[in-house]
């Protein structure tokens, strides 16, 4: 799936995402504290934790939707800097799916998926459309291609958002609570697409409260609280034998009812 020319000499050996001592403040509020995280190519990571624990902020640092003030971050061996060109270079490698879909409401589903391939990757329109239809097919929504996002259900919109992201051939996908804004009966259709993507070997970082999803596909589960990584482990160990007290409390709260 990765057709892009790699810039770093040993990019394929490099870690997909690497954070070393990442710190971030919102004003005086210390949201991320000394984060160390290494994600291998092809790894699936689920990040969970109470609200306000900094998990969304953490993954939003990876494509520079949030700036961090201290520490180092690199994506596929490319260090993140303040340089706009570098930021855009990294963003082209990183796909993102948002809680509220953020589809472009003034464009059709197909145009949503073609826009960036045409304007950023300079693909011919025909090629971009064929590719978009291919991905829309895979998230099973090709028949809605000419509709506007406002005419689709939440689950359908989120599947389009995933297809839109895949059209850029990302090397890693970030999911920021992709099912939290959905009606209960639509959660499964989105999770199914994500599971399929995981089985195809996509590197994924998912902020989610879907513990079933974590158990099925995650290689590692990370628990965050108050801006720190408290605990990380393989899913079985994480759910069956949580080490820290805070993790135990959190799990009992979300699994207990």
């Amino acid at each position: 799936m990765n057709e892009q020319a790699t810039t770093a000499a040993n990019a394929d050996d490099a870690l997909m995402v690497e954070m070393r001592g990442l710190n971030k403040w919102f004003g005086d509020f210390h949201v991320l504290r000394e984060i160390y995280l290494e994600v291998e190519r092809g790894e699936r990571i689920v990040i969970c934790g109470p609200s306000g624990s900094g998990k969304s902020t953490l993954i939003r640092c990876i494509n520079h939707l949030e700036e961090f003030q201290k520490g180092d971050l690199s994506v596929g061996g490319l260090p993140m800097t303040q340089d706009v060109k570098r930021i855009e270079q990294i963003r082209r490698r990183v796909g993102m799916v948002f809680q509220h879909f953020n589809l472009f409401p003034h464009l059709t589903v197909l145009e949503n998926c073609c826009l960036s391939p045409i304007w950023v990757q300079k693909k011919p329109r025909k090629e971009a459309e064929a590719q978009a239809m291919n991905y829309l097919e895979r998230v099973q929504i090709a028949e809605q291609a000419l509709k506007y996002p406002g005419q689709l259900s939440g689950g359908q919109q989120q599947r389009v958002a995933i297809a839109r992201s895949l059209c850029m051939h990302p090397e890693v996908m970030l999911f920021d609570e992709p099912t939290s804004a959905l009606d209960p009966e639509m959660i499964k259709e989105v999770l199914d697409v994500m599971v399929e993507l995981a089985h195809e070997g996509m590197t994924m970082l998912c902020v989610t409260h879907e513990m079933g999803f974590a158990k099925t596909v995650a290689d590692r589960v990370i628990f965050m609280d108050q801006g720190q990584i408290i605990e990380e482990n393989a899913p079985e160990a994480f759910f069956n034998d949580p080490q820290s007290e805070r993790t135990q409390l959190f799990l009992s709260q979300i699994l207990g009812h």
């Binding site: 494509n63 939707l65 855009e88 948002f98 953020n102 304007w119 406002g150 850029m168």
Partner: protein, 364 residues
């Protein structure tokens, strides 16, 4: 307990429409007070409209060439008729007015092409309208090229001048306003301050002052021999003034677009200008249509202020005609005609903007 074993079939909604008489009774004559108010309203309408219609149409004089042809008690439209050429073309030499007519016809054709959704090649027509048409219009109207006699801007006037001021002002003020609005939202402090100062300066001064400064003060600062055309000075003044207003309209629209749109575009690797040009501005501009058209309409009417710097726009030329000793006492006709022409243009803009809003609605 199960309420319904079978799905109930969907039924048509109860009809709400009633006959015209029932509607009248329900809405206008539902009680003694209501009936009284309705009758009073009808009488007021009658009292206001009858003399107006009688003056403007029934007892009006239409045909003729001199004030003597106005014999009846109503309006003397002979005055407007006799002066119509001057009202439209100002002091433009009458044997050259075909040049203005070509410009008008070309402009109408281009705008119509852009406004009618079915016609193809919109992008090319837009480029022609924005970049080629102004050159053609200038060459034709100003002359001095291709053997066309030169007609200096001093002689431009009437409706022609009003349209030149309004169209150039609108076309120039919108992009400048967009740039200023983006600048005001920039994270770069110098760019932001420059835009804020610019906007607040031009918005803080009345247009009449700006025009006056442009015409009286500016030449004082110019080295001798350098003389900028008076029309250009008025155009620059109007454009900068309106672009400051436009900037605030655009800023309002930009603020209404959720941050997630910009983030989603950024996450797809788009640069700042692509994010703005492809995602944020198209959505914002659609929301801003009422505000933009509002500014356009006020700009259109504000062009009458150029009278104070000695340019004769439609209102100016009508006023000049009113002081003609042969045609004294036809002020009402002159002003009613002027108001009607302005109203036609402003109302058309308003209607087109409403049509545009409906057409661009994509159900969100």
């Amino acid at each position: 307990m199960i309420h319904n074993r079978e799905m109930l079939p969907s039924q048509p909604a109860p009809r709400r429409s009633i006959g015209p008489f029932a509607w009248l009774k329900a809405n206008l004559f539902s009680g003694p007070v209501n009936t009284l108010v309705t009758l009073a309203g009808l009488y007021l309408l009658y009292w206001l409209l009858t003399p107006t219609i009688q003056w403007a149409f029934i007892e009006a004089d239409w045909q003729g060439a001199s004030p003597d042809d106005c014999t009846s008690a109503g309006a003397c439209w002979v005055f407007v008729n006799a002066r119509l050429d001057q009202f439209i073309y100002g002091l433009y030499p009458s044997e050259e007015t075909w040049r203005i007519n070509i410009v008008f016809a070309l402009f109408t054709a281009l705008i119509a092409w852009l406004a009618i959704p079915r016609l193809p090649y919109k992008r090319w027509i837009a480029i022609i309208t924005l970049f080629v048409f102004p050159v053609i219009a200038y060459v034709l109207m100003h002359g001095g090229y291709f053997g066309l006699p030169r007609v200096s801007t001093q002689r431009w006037g009437g409706l022609t001048l009003t349209l030149v001021l309004a169209v150039v002002g609108m076309v120039a003020a919108l992009p400048i306003g967009v740039i200023l609005a983006l600048g005001r939202r920039s994270t770069m402090p110098i760019i932001r301050s420059v835009c804020v100062i610019f906007i607040e300066f031009w918005r803080g001064a009345p247009l009449i002052t700006i025009l006056f400064m442009a015409s009286v003060m500016l030449p004082l600062f110019m080295p001798t021999g350098v003389d900028i055309d008076r029309l250009i000075r008025a155009l620059v003044g109007i454009t900068l003034f309106q672009s400051a207003y436009m900037a605030e309209v655009v800023r309002g629209g930009l603020q209404a677009i959720p941050n997630g749109q910009d983030e989603a575009a950024a996450a797809l690797g788009m640069s700042y200008w692509k994010r703005m040009g492809l995602i944020v501005l198209p959505q914002a501009l659609k929301m801003m249509i009422p505000g933009i058209v509002n500014t356009f309409i006020s700009l259109f009417k504000d062009t009458t202020l150029v009278m104070i710097i000695g340019l004769f726009d439609l209102l100016g030329i009508v006023q000049a005609a009113l002081s003609d000793s042969r045609w004294l006492g036809f002020d009402v006709e002159g002003y009613v005609f002027t108001a009607f022409v302005f109203w036609i243009f402003c109302f058309s803009m308003s209607r087109y903007s409403q049509y545009l809003e409906r057409r661009l609605h994509t159900g969100h």
